[in-house]
């Protein structure tokens, strides 16, 4: 029994079929990141899932804090950067960059914003960027993790200086609110807005569907990376089999095949060799923002609450 938030766009079917070939009969239960996290925590006394994958480090550290994960070191642990997971219970699979993208047909690279903060400090971008209307999604939370952790200040409210909170206030005051069920790319295509947040994996496909061209901004501090992970659920009855499954799932061969199929950026160094070269190049040049994840994890719940209550208008 596998819980994931990464079963969309045919991935669930692909994994089920691949696992069957390898002799694992899996049943995938898909749910959004927050839902899957809540479900795993709620079920900790009588777990239904054996393994969970696809959730990012923030979600897994929440689940780990509730003591719902079992420590296990997969056979491929040496092939990945331990730092990306917690090195104990959850292990990294795939990298995803959280980017600020803009309509490159309309804005030349030299006139484009250089950083998130340009959006509200420079007049030409005001009301031209889409801002979120809720912080329920992982992407939105990571954008704020990227902004707020630059203003870490132990004496400030929730560990963030007043200056940091002012940025958040400005972000909401000057952005064009997202519209439910209307994709950012649809709004870019219709000219309503020119830029907004986007995870790296969706860009190519959306550009094609909406017939727009999008370039991304890499601020001097770098971009936040979300790393999807896999972990063994505490209390599973099929522990041994599940461990074998994790060993198979994260192996270079399997991850490489997955990356090829779905344009993903595997963390596994050997698997990266099989990934789409454009994707690999993109990540090779990408500067990763140095974020203190323990700090973010500790405060994210309270940040979301504060932002929802005080800054979102």
């Amino acid at each position: 029994m596998v819980y994931t938030n990464s079963n969309g766009e045919g991935r669930g079917e692909w994994w089920t079929a691949k696992a069957a070939e390898a002799g694992f009969k899996i049943e995938i239960v898909g749910a959004g990141g927050a839902d899957a996290t809540n479900k795993l925590i709620a079920e900790k006394n009588n777990p239904i899932a054996d393994v969970a994958f696809g959730l990012n480090n923030m979600y897994f550290s929440q689940i780990q804090a509730e003591d719902a994960l079992e420590a296990y070191e997969p056979s491929w642990a040496g092939e990945v950067d331990k730092e990306l997971g917690d090195g104990e219970t959850y292990w990294p699979l795939v990298k995803q960059a959280i980017l600020l993208g803009y309509n490159s047909d309309k804005i030349p690279a030299d006139k484009a914003p250089q950083d998130w903060t340009d959006l509200w400090t420079k007049d030409e971008f005001k009301d031209r960027y889409e801002r979120v209307t809720g912080l329920g999604t992982a992407t939105a939370q990571l954008v704020f993790a990227g902004i707020l952790s630059r203003y870490q200040d132990d004496s400030g409210d929730l560990g963030v200086s007043d200056e940091g909170w002012k940025q958040v206030e400005q972000y909401f005051q000057n952005g064009s609110p997202a519209v439910a069920k209307t994709d950012l790319f649809a709004r870019i295509a219709s000219g309503e807005v020119d830029m907004g947040q986007m995870p790296s994996s969706i860009i190519a496909e959306r550009e094609k569907s909406f017939n727009v061209n999008v370039e991304t901004v890499v601020p001097s501090v770098g971009v936040p990376l979300a790393v999807e992970q896999i972990a063994l659920v505490k209390g599973t009855e099929k522990k041994e089999q599940t461990q074998k499954f994790i060993d198979w799932f994260g192996s270079a061969e399997v991850q490489g095949e997955f990356a090829q199929q779905f344009n993903a950026m595997p963390v596994n160094k050997e698997a990266a060799a099989q990934a789409n070269p454009e994707v690999v190049d993109f990540f090779a040049d990408l500067k990763q923002q140095d974020i203190d994840w323990d700090f973010v994890q500790e405060n994210m719940g309270a940040w979301v609450e504060k932002i929802e209550l005080e800054y979102m208008t």
Binding site: E9, N38, A42, N46, G134, G136, T182, E305, L309
Partner: protein, 606 residues
């Protein structure tokens, strides 16, 4: 129907059995899980903190959103009644040309709702909408974004929520005694006077009941404000959902939900009080069926016809566009550009040839049908007793049964998980999480308040002299219930069952936490296929699922409601059930009275 002493009540074995089962059910599935979840949220470390209230009341945004929700609830209670009564009158009371066609148009709200309905209105009146483009051509100076904010939300929600009027008020109208109307006419009363002094007063109890439902709909508004509210008119529900999903902020969600719940209960109490003030029953003992009325004033006649057909257009246009757009590609849906040449069956192919295929549809149909039948079946007895016995015990039970209206379904689901993930004596020592039963329990509980209100109302419209006569002739309690009461309330019960069934089909909030991994209902599949993460196809899939659900719910309404009205005309011939005269007691909405509506079509989809 006078108030009965508790002692008299407990003497009946029927009451004792129903009472015992009910007490267990309420304790096990309404009180215990929700107390657990509330304790877990408000007393995280064993001590109470006023943090949630402090945070909320100092938040401008929360207070504004809460205010908006209340504003919408109050406004909606008025506008839905205006539009609802109007469409009921033109389809059932006045002689209007083409009223059956009009009926089908107005009945379109039976079969769809939610985000797609809001999107449908946006296709028409939004800044790139059809009507807006036309208007801009006529008035070049007008603002293309005119259809947004409070006004747009109120308009859309008003037209979207007249379902209860079409079902319950229309049925009450059929129970109005025609002899009284004729008598008034003979005395020289005008059409308007008859309407105002005779017809509307007799509908009052039902109107009170549906007003509560409209109020509740306004408080819980979610998708219409998200799509059309814009920056200035956002409601509280999205915030409740965000906070429910964040373990550290769940106390805020629970507090907000409790505030809304208390407002609902207050509304309930006010309405009950209002109802008690009046007399709503007909004086004639031999009633006759309502006949359609001509509008004698020619100007009024033309105006009513014009408005009726204008409303018809307002109701049907979104449905037509949604069906059309379900054949377009996702990008076209989101940018609002529809080219007739580009419509294909691709979306349907993609949705129906998924690996999971038809299975989720079947799972949902089975779960929803079971839950709807259990809720209505079980509450038939309960509603009967609550309506018959009026004392403090009955009141306590009644208010307890409204608990599911107070908490959002995600919290109800969490309550069930934390209460039954270990062997619990309340359910015979069983562990319920991970079984297929727990979702069924949740489905039944969330439908209890609505079912109870509407069933109680229909029992109230039964003439108590029938029951008394049967009792005098020596009939036993169960016999009276089975042979006299049941046939009379069956049409209403069938309609409630159908509405319950329809609303559970695409449930997501409870299913996400409680569904058995191998038996996943439709809501989860829809969510997985329609979320932003699913790419451009996601939006197209939403439309396909909506159209598919429209088909299922349309068929259900036809089968259950359409058939039940035929049943009614057949039952009329049974000697055991003489036509009952309309004698709704105070405080109780009237629902169909057997035998009287055979002449009128009652089926929504025929």
């Amino acid at each position: 129907m006078s108030s009965t002493a508790v002692r008299a009540m407990v003497r009946s074995p029927f009451v004792l059995i129903v009472g015992a089962v009910l007490t267990w059910f309420i304790a096990a599935f309404l009180v215990w899980p929700n107390i657990n979840v509330l304790i877990a949220t408000f007393f995280p470390d064993g001590s109470f903190s006023g943090r949630a209230a402090e945070k909320l009341f100092s938040s401008q945004r929360a207070m504004k959103a809460l205010g908006n929700s209340f504003l919408l609830a109050v406004a909606l209670s008025i506008t839905v009644n205006l539009v609802g009564v109007f469409i009921v009158l033109v389809t059932h009371y006045f002689r209007i040309r083409g009223s059956r066609i009009l009926f089908l148009g107005y009945a379109s709200t039976f079969i769809y709702g939610g985000i797609v309905l809001a999107a449908g209105y946006k296709f028409i009146y939004g800044d790139k909408g059809i009507v807006t483009s036309l208007l801009v051509k006529v008035f070049p100076g007008m603002d293309p974004a005119w259809f947004s904010g409070f006004f747009a939300v109120l308009v859309v929600m008003t037209f979207a929520t007249t379902t209860n009027h079409m079902l319950f008020v229309a049925n009450a109208l059929k129970g109005v005694d025609y002899q009284t109307i004729e008598a008034a006419r003979n005395l020289g009363a005008s059409t308007w006077t008859i309407l105002r002094r005779i017809v509307l007063p007799m509908l009052k109890p039902t109107l009170f009941a549906v007003t509560i439902l409209s109020f509740l709909t306004g408080l819980g508004a979610l998708s219409a404000p998200q799509v059309l509210g814009g920056r200035d008119f956002q409601t509280i529900t999205p915030m409740i959902l965000t906070f429910t999903n964040s373990p550290t902020s769940r106390d805020l969600a629970a507090l907000l939900a409790v505030i809304l719940g208390l407002a609902t209960i207050l509304m309930l109490a006010v309405m009950s009080r209002l109802e008690k003030g009046g007399t709503y029953f007909s004086v004639s003992k031999v009633s006759s069926a309502l006949q359609k009325q001509d509008i004698t004033n020619p100007v009024a006649n033309v105006v009513v016809h014009a408005v009726a057909y204008l409303l018809f257009a307002v109701y049907t246009l979104p449905v037509v566009l949604i069906v059309l757009y379900s054949f377009a590609d996702g990008a076209a849906i989101q940018t609002g550009e529809l080219a007739f040449g580009s419509l294909t069956l691709e979306n349907y192919q993609r949705v129906l040839t998924q690996q999971s295929g038809l299975r989720p549809f079947i799972v949902s149909v089975v779960y929803s049908a079971l839950a709807a039948l259990i809720a209505v079946g079980g509450l038939l007895f309960v509603a009967r007793l609550l309506q018959k016995y009026k004392n403090w015990v009955a009141s306590v039970f009644e208010y307890l049964l409204h608990i599911p209206w107070i908490l959002p379904s995600a919290l109800l689901a969490l309550g069930l998980i934390i209460s039954y993930d270990h062997p619990n004596p309340l359910v015979g020592g069983a562990v319920l999480t991970g079984t297929t039963v727990i979702l069924l329990i949740a489905f039944v509980t969330v439908k209890i308040p609505f079912t109870l209100r509407m069933l109680k109302a229909s029992f109230a419209s039964v003439n108590s002299s029938l029951e008394e006569a049967a009792a005098i002739m020596g009939a036993k309690t169960l016999y009276v219930f089975r042979r006299i009461l049941l046939p009379l309330v069956l049409p209403a019960a069938a309609a409630i069952t159908a509405l319950n069934f329809n609303s559970l089909l695409d449930d997501y909030d409870t299913a996400i936490f409680l569904a058995h991994p191998l038996v996943q209902p439709l809501g989860l599949v829809i969510k997985a296929n329609t979320d932003g993460a699913e790419g451009v196809d996601g939006v197209a899939n939403t439309f396909v699922y909506t159209v598919l659900l429209m088909v299922i719910t349309g068929v259900t309404m036809y089968l259950v409601y359409g058939r039940s009205s035929r049943e009614r005309s057949r039952k009329k011939k049974l000697p055991a059930v003489p036509p009952a005269s309309q004698v709704p007691g105070p405080g109780l909405p009237g629902t169909p009275v057997a035998g009287e509506d055979a002449a009128q079509p009652a089926a929504p989809v025929r």
